[in-house]
Amino acid sequence: GAGVSQSPSNKVTEKGKDVELRCDPISGHTALYWYRQRLGQGLEFLIYFQGNSAPDKSGLPSDRFSAERTGESVSTLTIQRTQQEDSAVYLCASSLRPTGPYSGNTIYFGEGSWLTVV
């Protein structure tokens, strides 16, 4: 498709269960990002993949969170043993490789996966 595609769009899960969220980036985009937005808060960085480089995992809030990306395509964000505070919209985004400092390339977001932990 033309844009970043995420699935599922909505997920309700019981506390303690594992969830997987999927992201299909824009074709040709080497960079992929996961963010989340909890109710009433800003966008919180989780993890960043750039080509074959080691991912930047500095934003993952705990070891219950992990993400994988196969090459320059699909990514999966996994949350194990979900807690109520994990309830949020999880946003995936993608972009081309940055051309360097002071020049930009736009990061495009998907519609998000709305996760509710009950």
């Binding site: 963010y35 966008l43 960043y48 360097g100 002071y102």
Partner: protein
Amino acid sequence: DQQVKQNSPSLSVQEGRISILNCDYTNSMFDYFLWYKKYPAEGPTFLISISSIKDKNEDGRFTVFLNKSAKHLSLHIVPSQPGDSAVYFCAARDIPGGGNKLTFGTGTQLKVEL
């Protein structure tokens, strides 16, 4: 440590008037800044950006101003339209320190009233 701050959670403006959204940052290594707009139940959409080597960028009704010495940027929308009502996020990038990932502010809810 909030490196990008949007101190006004909300702003209300009359249709046709100017909307000014503000953003402050603390990291002097930020080299690129962006504004995103977000409607409820949708992902953020890119609006306008500016490189740290410039002080102004204009695109139609939208202009972004950057004051590096003050570590401050602002988004001007003129004239404001009801369809501009959304949450606006300021974002910044630090390539040496963080690659192409963006650090976002907490957003400002803009309401344009008739």
